[in-house]
Symmetry: C3
Subunit: 138 residues, 3 copies
């Protein structure tokens, strides 16, 4: 069968400055709608102050991720970017986490591990965040 592309633009609303949101069901639904059986699903955030990652959606760990990022990106520190905005930490955190994840699609479903969930990591909310999902394959 020949390869095809399915693309979808979704969004979520974050409710606090720092927040970890499980967006896996949005990605699963897109894969299901795509009808693609074998390939890759790529989840992309068109932003510079939130990240996207894969991890376990355990509430304690979700708080640890936020604490870990705060410790290393230092919100409120005298970063140069903070002279014109107050979110340098969020920009730095996104370059650490990344802006996309690519997940194998097998037998029409996300081929993730038992504990893996797709997590959007808000570092400069609350905001509306777009998620662009591209499913490519046969």
């Amino acid at each position: 069968m020949a390869c095809r592309v399915y693309q979808e633009d979704s969004s979520v609303r974050t409710t606090s400055r720092f927040q970890v949101l499980d967006v896996t069901s949005i990605v699963e639904e897109a894969v299901s709608k795509s009808g693609i059986e074998k390939g890759l699903a790529t989840v992309y955030v068109p932003h510079t102050t939130c990240g996207i990652t894969i991890n376990e959606a355990e509430p304690g760990l979700m708080e640890d991720i936020v604490e870990f990022l705060k410790e290393y990106t230092k919100p409120g520190a005298p970063w140069r970017h903070n002279r014109i905005d107050d979110n340098a930490h969020a920009h730095l955190g996104q370059s650490v986490l990344g802006h996309h994840v690519s997940i194998p699609v097998t037998a029409g479903r996300l081929n993730m591990g038992t504990w893996q969930r797709v997590l959007l990591v808000e570092m400069d909310g609350p905001r509306r965040r777009r998620i662009i999902i591209t499913v490519m394959g046969e």
Copy 2:
């Protein structure tokens, strides 16, 4: 020529808690078996406590990567996730390193740099680790 998808599920066994393993030959073999000449090879680990990255397979550097990760993810620190498990550091390390790499395929081979190798970074071993390779292209 039309695009196709080749997908393969491999695994490796890690032998200590922290370990950097060169898995490049597994990826090269999958690309060769795929028969795909031009496209991308995506290497994905369906886990939440090991990462996948690209770097030089120099033994000193492989130890440096482990030391660097330990310094920033702090195994044994009072992370909330450690109340229910003892591997928060490994979850945090995976979000830093990432769970996948995508490498161009050109003329039927991985188009990597001279010093680049695909490295699996174990942070909570020893375990059996799955590696899902998706080669897509013409």
Copy 3:
């Protein structure tokens, strides 16, 4: 329409040891030349001492990214790899930033956010750096 692959090998020259370069226009041009309307553009650096990331090209932030990386990867520290070379920090920084970005292509253009730019992060320059762009889609 069936999927196709367009691949291009570009390069840039960095001019100092640490430097953040905006390479977005090179990627935009490749997408335009590809004629692909919907899919993904993957930008890959075949190196182990520079990274590729997406962030805002604000001059203060570009300096913050360099400072942030220096603080955590510690150039000149007694890393084992520094016994045979003096660039362990750059190898560690690349594993944090990553060696590729994948960006959705929609209606024949990069579907990035308003502030997003593709940034090459030099950590062991000055050097000539290759950039391999793979555009895949319909």
